[in-house]
């Protein structure tokens, strides 16, 4: 054995390529968008659950005062009747000021005439474990001889949940499409790389390398590049998400799409997912192209 021991074997596929930078940039941008889409899907899901809980656990009763009773008195009687219903945690009659505040977006801030009959509202908090039904609430109001309408939010709940589902599906669909686009980009890059390295492929072939071995070289190369790009994209998305969470504030993104710390966890998987997509795309592309090499 000679003292001039050689260094470890060099990579059969050259480690550097002039196109690597552009490829990493494109895949990183795709991963960045995909990560934001995933975070948006998770936040949509969380928001939908929150809205659903809020709407399902409460009801609103609109009280119409009769001629021989003030609105405040009717609302107070309604609240008292509702409070005794099984499945109701709390029933509060809203004062005129609060009712006017609810109407302010439509009627302005200039105040309403005192003689304008404003319906009084009773906010009902239901027992989350055994919520009272709208029928039970209506029956109690009838028994108390209060002219009122019960809104258990079921109509809104369906719309809100449908909207939240659409937002979530759109976000996940976007992420899936982006993954497919990343796969197509990698396939294109593999094709270009394989054609550019035709001399190497030919030598390996004639030296007895099998297709799967050569495809494996390209697989490893592009999986590594995609994983790096995935890490860069996920890092960028993490920064944006962090800013949205910390800086969003009451008027920012956070109240609409509440971001939790757990939403950052899927971003860690981005490099792995990008590497896996690239590995599949590169292997399939390489094997298809190698069929034409004798």
């Amino acid at each position: 054995m000679s003292e001039l021991a050689p260094p470890p074997p060099g990579p059969l596929l050259p480690a550097e390529d002039a196109r690597d930078g552009a490829l990493v940039f494109v895949v990183a941008v795709l991963c960045f968008i995909a990560c934001l889409a995933v975070v948006a899907a998770l936040a949509s899901n969380r928001a939908a659950h929150g809205w659903r809980a809020q709407l399902r656990d409460s009801a609103t009763v609109v009280v119409r005062p009769s001629a021989d009773e003030t609105a405040d008195a009717a609302a107070a009687r309604a609240a008292a009747a509702l409070a005794d219903v099984r499945g109701v945690a709390e029933a509060d009659a809203l004062e005129r000021e609060k009712a006017e505040a609810l109407l302010e977006p439509w009627l302005g801030k200039n105040g309403l005439p005192d003689d304008l009959a404003i319906p009084r509202l009773v906010a009902v908090q239901l027992d989350p474990r055994h919520p009272a039904t709208a029928d039970a609430l209506s029956a109690a109001l009838v028994s108390a001889k209060v002219d009122a309408t019960v809104d258990d939010h079921s109509l809104w709940l369906k719309d809100v949940l449908r909207a939240a589902f659409m937002a979530e599906a759109a976000a996940l669909g976007t992420a899936t499409l982006i993954a497919a686009a990343a796969g197509a980009v990698i396939a294109f890059a593999t094709r270009a790389s394989l054609q550019a390295r035709g001399d190497l492929v030919s030598v390996l072939h004639l030296a007895g390398a099998e297709d799967r071995y050569i495809a494996g070289l390209f697989l490893m190369r592009f999986a590594r590049l995609a994983a790096i790009a995935g890490a860069i994209g996920a890092g960028g998305a993490a920064v944006v998400t962090l800013v949205a969470k910390l800086v969003g504030g009451a008027d920012g993104v956070t109240p609409i799409l509440p971001v939790a710390w757990s939403d950052f966890a899927p971003l860690i998987l981005c490099p792995l997912a990008a590497g896996a997509v690239a590995a599949v795309a590169a292997r399939v592309t390489a094997l298809n192209l190698l069929k034409a090499v004798t």
Binding site: M1, S2, L4, A5, P6, P7, P8, P9, G10, P11, L12, P14, D199, L200, S202, V203, L204, H205, L206, A207, G208, A209, E210, D211, Y213, K291, T294
Partner: protein
């Protein structure tokens, strides 16, 4: 690469080639002439021990719509034989070698390698067969991003060998072709002759059963040419079937080996003088 080492079998573990350092072409021993320009063994799909390593039967090849580059070639190379392949430039020597390496498919006719009909081979059957062949390309086809050591070790690496197992053989072979001090150099840093020697070392390092070489001495001086030829002779002595394309007729004449001569698409066997 699991399983690929089987294709190399014991050859990958043979002892390093030992070649006398003499540079005299006259010392090349007389060969057993086994080529048959006529009456080939019919190609079959079953490997036949001791049968022809290469068998062409009425093989023709043309590129595109042109005329036949090779026409109705019929010959066999028996195991352990040593032949030169001669002919004018453009006669089809390289084309014939590519047919043997299965880098080209014949327009007509049948080719058998190691007793197997190549027409009946699936794509998956080619790599193990190619690993039994060492090839010195006319244009060398070295990998510029690998150093000299890695270039020579390529066939062993593809066969699944470990560096620790083969580095001694590779270093010794590099020394024999005069490239000990260039082990870590990259092909673009080597002269044409050095690149040629590197390509030869790569072709023989795995002790192939069949060695085909395309003008292997074209870029080296006479002394190195004779030395390389001795390496081929030694390989042949150890059982490797050798076919060398050259137009150095002087070297052919002094070697005492038979030549397959291509002229106008036809093949003739020229016995040793």
């Amino acid at each position: 690469m699991a399983g690929e080492s089987d294709a190399y079998g014991p050859s990958a573990r043979r002892s390093p080639i030992s070649v006398p350092m003499s540079s005299s072409a006259d010392e090349l021993s007389s060969p057993d002439v086994t080529a048959q320009a006529e009456g080939p063994s019919p190609p079959s799909n079953d490997p036949v021990a001791g049968g022809p390593v290469v068998a062409f039967e009425d093989v023709s090849l043309r590129y595109g719509g042109g005329g036949d580059v090779l026409r109705d070639l019929t010959f066999t190379l028996e195991a352990g034989s040593f032949h030169f392949l001669t002919g004018a430039s453009g006669a089809g020597k390289t084309t014939l070698l590519k047919l043997i390496l299965m880098a080209l498919r014949p327009t007509q006719g049948r080719i058998a390698l190691f007793g197997r009909d190549t027409q009946r081979m699936t794509r998956a059957m080619l790599p193990p067969l190619r690993r039994r062949i060492g090839m010195v390309f006319h244009d060398r086809r070295l990998l510029d991003h690998l150093n000299a050591f890695d270039n020579v070790a390529l066939p062993l690496r593809l066969a699944g060998g470990r560096v620790a197992d083969y580095q001694g053989d590779v270093i010794e072979l590099l020394g024999w072709v005069g490239l000990s001090d260039k082990m870590l150099a990259y092909p673009p840093e080597l002269s044409g002759g050095e690149q040629q020697r590197l390509a030869i070392a790569r072709a023989v390092v795995a002790r192939p059963e069949l060695l085909i070489a395309d003008e292997p001495t074209g870029d080296v001086d006479h002394e190195m040419a004779v030395r390389i030829l001795r390496l081929f002779v030694e390989l042949n002595r150890l059982g490797t079937t050798v076919l060398i394309a050259t137009h150095d007729l002087e070297l052919v004449g002094r070697s005492g080996r038979p030549a397959l001569h291509i002229d106008d698409g036809d093949l003739q066997l020229r016995e040793a003088a």
